[in-house]
Amino acid sequence: MGVLEGFVHRELAMKRQAMGAFMGQMITPSLYLALFVTALSGNIPYLMYGGRKVPYVLYVLPGIMAIQMLYTFPYVASLVFNDRRFGLIRSFFVARGKPHMYLLGKLLAEGFVLLLTLLLLIGMCALITGYLPSAYSALLLIAVGLPTFVFWLSFGTMLGLVLRRETTRAAVFTLLNLPTIFTAPVFYDVGTTWLRYVSSINPLTYQVMALREAFLRGSVDGGLLAGTAAMGALMLCISYVVLERVSPR
């Protein structure tokens, strides 16, 4: 327990020290919702979803939740990249730290921030639309959101461990961030044929779909639920294996 506490303490202390980045992490999605989405709602008040008219704000909220989870990857990748580059991973593991504790520490600290952000988003959405998801929907959101978050955090960990140069890291972030968001049904249903093809190989597509079903329908297709869980578990295993490989043996 003490070892894990050490990792979590470190992660939270880093958040406190980088308060600007921490606030940015919290506020950016709220600004998306408050400004971008609300402004767009003037032009697109409703969208058809599952055969019914849904306010645009409600349609987009699960998408913003998903990109919030996606944004953990560049943040975590930067931290892990520096931990590896400056020998901290080595020094933690030559002490009594273990790879799974290191990963768990990140999951708990980042998960805490994500939870606060999501609650803030749902609260804002309730203020704007008066809609609050049911308790069952909230449970489903957790069931889908957790593996989605684990997927992106593990992906970030894996990238931070395998990328060797800062310039490569910056290039990878730029190349992945926006295309991933805009080829998934975050703000709209992907319509163009070739974009649909790209969308089908984008993990965020399935994560947004699952989150949207949980949030708006209160039910999630079994295949989507299993697929999201499998993607999260698989990426977690990959990042663990890579972490094991770079740790002192």
């Binding site: 050490g6 470190r10 020290q17 009594r96 002192p248």
Partner: protein, 314 residues
């Protein structure tokens, strides 16, 4: 603390190759008994010191040979070894964004220390290293020497770590900081801690160590005690004299008493040899344009050893 005689580290026929090409260590074997609590490994940059420490601290995987640390095999008992050792690497391995106290606190927890012990230990070390006032400052706001002290503090944090590996203990410290760090290491060694230092600072070794291991090009050159090393080199003199046929003949005829140090300097191994050389030069009326005699320091001995690749008399 009484004298320690048991073998603490045994290294047998260790070879380590990076990337299948660069041979960092070749068939290295030695044992260290830490008689006064401090054992030093000396060698120039790139000699293989850090690789050797990385292998002993289980930081990298042993490829060939055997290493036993505190009676435990590094291949099969690395977890237990890690519980009993601590490492202060040459590079800065700290969270520079975090404060000194937070660095020590999270590291102590990761090492599995009890909170009450950790709290008191941090304050104790901050006081010893004269950093109490700066305990809440971020590491990045400290000077290079202060950062180095924080790194040392981290290595000394857990009292259950019996053997502490310090790579270049006083690298980047000013003379006062250096002296203070040496005192601390000596005091802690007297309390029963064991230190393995890797350095290329001869004064450091002379001040701290009992036993020393010289390494260069991935091979062991010599393992001896500081006292013995001094004895081997203490009487040596360097004579700067104009080079000539007679002088060259004398050096050739006395290979065990003298050698050419460089172009115009003859190194004689003791006072008798110096007396004989000067007598010879006088008898043969060899013109001596300029003559100077200087005692050889341990540093010279170290350089000779590295250049010669043997016992220093090559």
């Amino acid at each position: 603390m009484g004298e320690r005689q048991e073998i603490v580290i045994t290294v047998s026929d260790v070879t380590h190759v990076y990337g299948g090409r660069y041979r960092a260590l070749s068939g290295v074997s030695f044992s260290a008994s830490f008689e006064n609590g401090i054992f030093s490994i000396l060698g120039p940059n790139g000699a293989g010191k850090t690789t050797l420490v990385n292998l002993m601290t289980t930081s990298i995987k042993l490829q060939r040979g055997r290493i036993s640390v505190l009676g435990l095999d590094v291949r099969t008992e690395r977890r237990r070894i890690r519980d009993m050792i601590s490492l202060c690497p040459q590079e800065l391995e700290l969270d520079v964004m975090l404060s000194v106290r937070t660095n020590l606190w999270s590291y102590g927890l990761i090492r599995g220390m009890r909170k009450s012990l950790l709290r008191s230990r941090i304050e104790e070390l901050l006081e010893i290293f004269e950093l109490t006032e700066k305990g809440n400052k971020r590491v990045m706001e400290l000077s290079g020497g202060e950062m180095r002290r924080v790194q040392l503090m981290r290595a000394l944090l857990d009292p259950s770590a019996r053997l502490i590996f310090i790579d270049e203990p006083t690298l980047g410290l000013d003379p006062v900081g250096k002296r203070r760090t040496w005192e601390l290491i000596r005091e802690m060694a007297d309390e029963g801690y064991l230190f393995l230092l890797t350095t290329n600072d001869m004064a450091e070794v002379e001040s701290l160590s009992h036993e020393i291991l010289f390494i260069n090009g991935g091979r062991i050159l010599l393992k001896t005690t500081v006292r013995e090393f001094k004895r081997m080199y203490a009487g040596r003199k360097k004579v700067r004299v104009e080079r000539g046929e007679a002088l060259e003949r004398w050096v050739r005829e006395n290979p065990h008493r003298a050698r050419w140090y460089d172009g115009d300097t003859v190194e004689v191994f003791n006072s008798d040899a110096l007396y004989d050389l000067l007598t010879y030069l006088s008898r043969n009326r060899v013109p001596v344009g300029e003559l100077s005699v200087e005692d050889e320091s341990l540093l010279d001995g170290f350089i000779n050893l590295v250049r010669g690749g043997g016992d220093g008399r090559a």
